[in-house]
């Protein structure tokens, strides 16, 4: 994207750079938390899961830091135009990333229960889904750092793939539970894990929308949704 001229007041640029750095760190931490929570889930490693739950506090602290910084910039600099849009967007993005972290933490929590039950076949889709979600977050943060509206817009379509994974896992788990009532507990937890990943995909997409708005001042057109499971009665 276009290079921006520096502000006359240099410390303003430093403040914005610092805010961007906090957001980038939060994004990186989210990627790690998701990838590791799914690893812990699949490898049935309860110790690793505990570490992930602990690490979520770092995301909470970073979010608080981003908020304090954004509030300070608004109070001291009275930002306008693209500066204003970026700072307001960064404030919102920090909140969304914190929420994404909560979903990863929730996956880690469930992995402890799942580790105590029999392995469930359809779970193999989970790591695939997680890989895709992590990729979307990484690309979204790249679009944020590069201030690239084209990249941000392209990301809005990617969430459909996550929805498709979720739909197929939803059906597979429903079938699995009907056939094997003993597996209802781990399957239900896995369903929540999949739902968490699906929600993460939605949140990452909303971050991409914020990046697009921050750079262009326009809202992107309505994005397509492909998660139809809320209307499914039986897995036919």
């Amino acid at each position: 994207m276009a290079e921006f001229a520096a502000h006359t007041v240099k410390s303003f640029d430093e403040d914005i750079a610092q805010l961007r750095a906090v957001i980038t760190r939060m994004g990186g931490l989210c990627e790690t938390q998701i990838a590791e929570s799914v690893d812990a889930l699949m490898s049935r490693n309860s110790e690793a899961a505990q570490t992930i739950i602990e690490n979520d506090k770092r995301l909470d602290a970073l979010e608080a830091g981003a908020e304090a910084l954004a509030v300070r910039i608004i109070a001291l600099r009275a930002p306008l135009a693209d500066d204003l849009r970026e700072i307001v967007s960064a404030l919102k993005i920090a909140g969304v990333l914190e929420r994404i972290g909560d979903y990863a933490k929730n996956i880690a929590k469930r992995s402890a229960v799942i580790a105590q039950s029999q392995p469930v076949g359809p779970a193999v889709i989970i790591p695939e889904m997680a890989r895709l979600v992590v990729e979307i977050i990484r690309d979204t943060l790249d679009a944020f750092v590069d201030r690239d509206p084209v990249k941000a817009l392209a990301l809005l379509q990617r969430d459909q793939q996550v929805d498709e994974y979720y739909n197929s896992l939803f059906r597979a788990l429903l079938t699995f539970m009907m056939e094997n009532p003993h597996y209802i507990t781990p399957s239900t937890h896995l369903l929540f894990v999949a739902k968490n990943l699906e929600r993460i995909g939605d949140h990452a997409t909303s971050v991409a929308e914020m990046v697009y708005y921050s750079v262009t001042g326009q809202r992107p057109a309505e994005r397509p949704k492909n998660d139809f499971t809320s209307t499914v009665y039986s897995p036919e």
């Binding site: 001229a5 006359t8 693209d82």
Partner: protein, 262 residues
């Protein structure tokens, strides 16, 4: 189809300027500016020092006539009437298009006389009672009545800076103008006095067409509905204030309002 974004907003303009050029001697201060000023909005002129915003403002009531070597080309109309027509009575024009300046400049007279001066000059009052009413109503509209009513015979220059500026606004509105031009009306005032003037501008909106020149971006954002950005004598961008401050179209506008200029 109108090419110029400064022209062609839906409301009937109070004042229109077309292809205005202003020269100070050899130096051109304003280059081909065309703009409409609506009676329903407060219009803010912003831009860096020397961009021509004050020069252009002063064209609207021919204040540049008093500047040696100043020459104005183009057409400026008030309700469709050519402001620079040879038969135009400039004193009448300035009664219709009043002005408030950067530094409060009350006459060295009583508060009452400051406000009564214009109406008397223009023969607006037939009796002392008439004049008393005009003075009271102008001071009330300027938000100064409660502070001034018990000291109408004291000197205007004895008031605080903020009060003096509101007195100047009362003086401007006493002759019942149609347009009020304000050139940096708050730059010599403290934040409280500034807030009172801003509140006053908001109250006067709709009754008068108001054009305000300000260096304070936040002030332009707070008080105006339309904002015009001037740079190097040209009108760069003219749009709704909210659009100018959240999503300006021109890079020069954006660089200026975000503090990247120069």
């Amino acid at each position: 189809m109108n090419q110029n974004p400064a022209i062609g907003h839906n409301t009937v303009p109070k004042m229109t300027a077309r292809d205005v050029n202003v020269f100070y001697g050899q130096k051109q201060a304003i280059k081909n500016v065309s703009i409409d000023v609506s009676a329903e909005h407060v219009t803010a002129f912003i831009g860096p020092s020397g961009c021509g915003k004050s020069t252009f403002l002063r064209c609207l009531n021919r204040m540049n006539d008093t500047v040696d070597g100043a020459r104005v080309e183009g057409r400026i109309e008030l309700d469709g009437q050519d402001v620079y027509a040879s038969g135009m009575d400039v004193v009448q024009l300035r009664a219709r298009v009043g002005m408030v300046f950067q530094k409060p400049n009350p006459f060295p007279k009583s508060i009452y006389e400051n406000v009564a001066y214009g109406p008397r000059l223009h023969g607006l009052a037939r009796s002392k009672t008439d004049m008393d009413e005009i003075v009271e109503s102008a001071l009330k509209r300027a938000g100064l009545w409660d502070e001034a009513k018990d000291r109408l015979n004291e000197s205007g220059t004895a008031m605080s800076g903020g009060q003096q500026q509101r007195l100047c606004i009362a003086r401007a509105i006493a002759v019942d103008p149609e347009v009020i031009l304000m050139d940096e009306p708050c730059s010599a005032l403290d934040p409280i006095a500034t807030a009172r003037i801003e509140e006053l501008i908001d109250e006067l909106r709709g009754r008068y067409a108001i054009v305000i020149v300000t260096h304070n971006m936040q002030q332009a954002a707070r008080v105006s509905q339309k904002t015009a950005f001037f740079h190097l004598g040209t009108l760069v961008e003219y749009d709704d204030t909210s659009a100018i401050f959240t999503n300006p179209k021109a890079t020069r506008t954006k660089d200026y309002i975000t503090g990247r200029y120069g």
